[in-house]
């Protein structure tokens, strides 16, 4: 493989992406796959809102509605929000810390393909007898009673994609611990790197309980085990605990990187150092830690008793303190700054009030006796959409605009970006603000319809209008991407002009080996420091130019994941008496996976070197 630029055919490009271990290309893969699932989840959301636009609507049937809400939640959390965050983590974090790549490029690729095949498997349930229908929480009594294969698709699909997520999390932990450039101490890491680090630690501890729960579920449904079957000594509440011991930290796995992205955006477009950097770091860690202490607040109405409820209520309220610290630090970062309202900054400014609104309703629900009223009503639906859409989705859209020039060397259209924001933001509040009141007025969540004249008709209609505005926003974003791609104007290095961190110091397009020489980090916001001191290059180097050791591309991660995908079909249909082919398929799938792993273990793949002479002649730029 050579570093010299050459034009590749379409097939070769596809093959390159199927086999790539480059974090920048894997970021693009995550972005494409995540967007695909985001659109699917969005269509499901629209179906929900159309069905609920008026009382006694029969746009979708009762059973189908339950499948739609289940898949909407599962898709958005596991297959859209997580991978889209991974896209930006992959694109930015290695560059932010001045690394050559992530610590385990092969695993990075494996993590992606596992996620993708798991997600595809789950979504194929639509065409193979019905999607899961027990809610994204899949509470045990209902999920065990579910007659179709939907729940099996859910359990097996999430098991596969969850393995991918766990791998990705471990990879980022190791990368951030080991691969930082000289001088980049922990307390000089950009906030996005910090939040990625803490979120990865949460993944490491939160996903195993989910894995265990899903295995119990699989055993119960496929091999007649009795972990959750109360008639045979099992207990359904165990599933609720396992799910929420994972599920609550999952919220912070998603929202912490969103906080990180906005921290970068606020500092950049205020031309100001992040206010209270060390307390921001402290708050991030504290939120991560407390995030494991509060899962039972999802279960206040389960009947755990007053002592458990009181303890978890107070612990939950405690999380408001570090979160509040963050909000005020953001405000003070902007205070006294020099604000340029670009599209990412606009999203940031929209994020603050939205997220505060979502946060305060969280505190209200932390109050256990009040939660008896709010739980499983539309109030909670409004609350978590304020946090997830108002926090995470706004962050993802902001990051898409902010990091687009880093990933693709092109700027998304700013005017169109702002129009997108207006539609999405207005639509978002229109959809969800009013749902708080629907909940208070007694409307339970997850209802496929409602009787008229209960005082809910108008608000539901308004909510549906909001959903359409949001959809217009998303469509405009896609249009923006297409227009930008057709135009193809290069953005160049430091396109926002106010970049502060290392990822903006690298020449555009980013060379496939990242930094030619590893940079030396002299403080927080390295690039800013260099710029302020008049360093044209924007970097001080820690080493002379020397040979770079690079990993080879590999098709093995794809094959390992594909094997599990095949095996999952065998496992799923094995319970059906009339499908004798299922066992051979199960074995064949596992054989593909294990053979691929054996090949990986036995074949020496030492990578290759880019020689010093080649690097000397190169000015930068991807192939």
């Amino acid at each position: 493989m050579s570093s010299t630029a050459k034009k590749k055919g379409f097939g070769a490009t596809i093959w390159d992406y199927l086999t790539t271990v480059d974090h920048k290309k894997i970021a693009v893969l995550y972005l494409i796959a995540g967007t695909l699932f985001f659109v699917i989840g969005g269509i499901e959301a629209m179906l929900i809102r159309i069905q609920l636009a008026e009382p006694n609507n029969d746009f979708v049937s009762a059973g189908l509605f339950n499948e739609i809400i289940t898949m909407h939640g599962t898709t958005m959390i596991f297959l859209a929000a997580m991978p889209l965050l991974f896209a930006f983590m992959n694109a930015a974090v290695p560059l932010q810390i001045g690394a050559r790549d992530v610590a385990f490029p092969f695993l990075n690729s494996l993590g992606f393909w596992l996620f993708l095949f798991g997600g595809l498997f789950l979504n194929l349930s639509w065409f193979l007898g019905g999607a899961p229908d027990a809610g994204w929480t899949s509470y045990a009594s209902l999920s065990l009673a579910s007659p179709t294969h939907g729940i099996d698709f859910y359990a097996l699909g999430l098991q596969i994609s969850g393995a991918g997520t766990l791998i990705a999390g471990i990879n980022f932990l190791v990368t951030i611990i080991n691969m930082r450039a000289p001088g980049m101490t922990y307390m000089r890491m950009p906030l996005f790197t910090w939040t990625t680090f803490v979120a990865s630690a949460l993944i490491l501890f939160a996903f195993p309980p989910l894995t265990v729960g899903l295995f119990f579920m699989i055993f119960d449904r496929m091999f007649d085990a009795n972990f959750f079957d109360h008639l045979n000594g099992g207990n359904t509440i165990i599933w609720e605990h396992l799910f929420w011991i994972f599920g609550h930290p999952e919220v912070y796995i998603l929202v912490l990187p969103a906080f990180g992205l906005f921290s970068e955006i606020f500092a950049t477009f205020s031309r100001k150092r992040l206010f209270g950097y060390s307390s921001m770091v402290f708050a991030t860690i504290l939120i991560g830690f407390l995030g494991f202490m509060v899962w039972a607040h999802h279960m206040f109405t389960v009947g755990l008793g007053p002592t458990a409820n009181a303890i978890f209520a107070v612990a939950t309220m405690a999380i408001a303190v570090p979160t509040g610290m963050k909000v005020f630090n953001w405000l003070l970062t902007i205070w006294g700054g020099n604000i340029k309202v670009t599209t990412p900054m606009l999203y940031g400014l929209g994020f603050i009030p939205s997220f505060v609104a979502g946060g305060v309703t969280g505190v209200m629900q932390a109050s256990a006796p009040l939660d008896y009223q709010l739980h499983d009503s539309y109030f909670i639906v409004a609350h978590f959409h304020y946090v997830i859409v108002g926090g995470i989705v706004l962050a993802l859209f902001a990051a898409a605009h902010y990091y687009w020039p880093l990933m693709f060397n092109q700027m998304l259209n700013e005017t169109l970006g702002k129009i997108t924001f207006v539609f999405f933001f207005v639509g978002f509040h229109c959809t969800f603000f009013i749902q708080h009141f629907l909940g208070l007025m007694g409307m339970p969540r997850r209802v496929f319809t409602y009787q008229g004249d209960q005082g809910w008709d108008l608000f539901n209609y308004i909510s549906t209008i909001g959903a359409f505005l949001m959809a217009i926003g998303v469509i405009l974003l896609v249009v923006n991407v297409i227009i930008t791609a057709i135009k193809g104007e290069p953005a160049g290095r430091d396109p926002w002009k106010d970049g502060r961190t290392l990822e903006w110091a690298i020449p555009q397009p980013v060379p496939y080996y990242n930094f030619k020489q590893t940079p030396l980090v002299r403080g927080l916001d390295t690039f800013w420091i260099e710029k302020m001191e008049g360093n044209k290059e924007g970097m001080t180097y820690a080493e002379p130019i020397s040979d770079i050791h690079m990993p080879n591309n590999s098709f093995i991660p794809f094959m390992i994941s594909f094997g599990l995908f095949v095996a999952a079909f065998g496992a799923l249909y094995h319970q059906d008496a009339d499908k004798a082919w299922s066992l051979p398929v199960l074995i064949a799938g596992l054989a593909i996976t294990f053979l691929s792993m054996i090949v990986r273990s036995l074949k020496d793949d030492l990578g290759y070197h880019i020689h010093k002479e080649e690097l000397m002649n190169e000015k930068g730029g991807k192939k």
């Binding site: 339950n66 809610g135 109405t301 205070w335 604000i339 009030p353 009223q373």
Partner: protein, 359 residues
């Protein structure tokens, strides 16, 4: 100054109360509490809302100031702001004040949590060994509710009848999958688990005959299958005297049966097609299918359909379409493989409407 602040807080609270009580229907909304439990929870809602509004106001003030004052147009294209590291004093302030605010919420939260879970009194007995409090055993089933009064030896379904002005205790359980028992206007919900019995109490302050439909609305609040949305029940609250009369009338239906040889065609049809699942005597203990002793007194058919002979006929003909996944057999299975004649259906509906302990 302090007095002024108190007034402001009071004003905010009053404004909020007026605003919120404009929302929702009296028989259904948590914002128009009709019982002590809901009232306590509503007070907590007001308290937290006011505190949270204060937080929002502070954030919004800083936020607006920031946007107004520090935009590039105002500050100048090339100005480089001072790179401030942070401020210890500010950090302490915005850590300490939220902690105080949270403590203000935490104290009533914890005390109310214990208060609402206190069901010791349901065991209390008077000198004759009778329970002093009314206890109802609630069993949630796909997709209907059974209410058993163990002390009184009576049972009913779909429509809970309770006395006003005293604590009524509930034992909650699910028979098939998990459900959740919620009467929004009366108090927060509690899950009906399949694994164990949950207990709590509610207080009903108002007699329900003044309400629009003469009943409070109850809901299933936990996803339980296709017809989760239709798993409604109704609550009739009676004064203590009227409740006692109702109990006596219920007990008096002991031994009531539908007779195959009755002169009433409706009763004949019921005896041939319905009696194997549905009892018409309100006396007894938990059954597998809904008790119909009070059917004529109810407010809805199957929890949500208009309570009329037309509604009953519609339900018998189309129960699977109306409430997908329910366990009511289809018409032909009820009537030995044939559909009911119109005459039979009319008579059956009339018979069912006549099942009453109140008329």
């Amino acid at each position: 100054m302090k007095g002024l602040k108190k007034w402001r807080l009071f004003g905010l609270l009053a404004a909020l109360t007026i605003f919120l009580s404009g929302c929702g229907e009296e028989y259904l909304s948590t914002l128009t509490p009709g019982g002590t439990v809901a009232k306590e929870q509503y007070k907590l809602l007001l308290l937290t809302s006011v505190i949270m509004l204060l937080v929002i106001i502070v954030v919004v003030i800083i936020y607006v100031l920031v946007i107004v004052k520090f935009r590039r147009k105002k500050v100048g294209e090339n100005t480089i702001p001072k790179q401030v590291e942070g401020s210890h004093i500010l950090e302490i302030i915005w850590t300490a004040i939220p902690i105080v605010l949270l403590l203000i919420i935490a104290v009533p939260t914890v005390s109310l949590t214990y208060e609402l879970a206190d069901t010791k009194a349901m065991e209390a007995k008077d000198e004759n060994g009778n329970a002093t409090a009314v206890t109802v055993n609630v069993t949630a089933k796909l997709y209907w509710w059974e209410f058993e009064y163990p002390e009184q030896g009576i049972i009913t379904a779909q429509e809970l009848v309770v006395p006003t002005g005293e604590k009524v205790y509930f034992n909650l359980k699910a028979a098939d999958v998990k459900h959740s028992f919620w009467i929004p206007a009366i108090g927060g919900k509690l899950d009906t688990n399949v694994d164990n019995i949950n207990t709590f109490y509610l207080t009903f302050d108002k007699e329900s005959d003044s309400l629009k439909d003469g009943v409070f609305y109850g809901k299933c609040a936990e996803l339980c299958g296709p017809s989760h949305a239709l798993m409604d029940f109704k609550v009739k609250t009676l004064s203590k005297d009227n409740f006692d009369t109702w109990v006596k009338n219920m007990q008096a239906t002991k031994g009531k049966k539908a007779d195959k040889n009755s002169t009433d065609l409706g009763e004949q049809v019921f005896a041939n097609s319905c009696i194997s699942c549905h009892a018409v005597s309100g006396e007894g203990t938990a059954a597998i299918y809904p008790n119909l002793a009070t059917f004529g007194d109810r407010n809805r058919v199957a929890g949500f359909i208009e309570h009329s002979e037309e509604g009953i006929k519609d339900w018998i003909k189309n129960s699977q379409k109306l409430k997908p996944g329910n366990l009511m057999p289809v018409e032909k299975d009820l009537n030995k493989g044939k559909e009911f004649t119109d005459e039979e259906l009319d008579a059956l509906a009339a018979y069912l409407m006549g099942l009453s302990v109140e008329k």
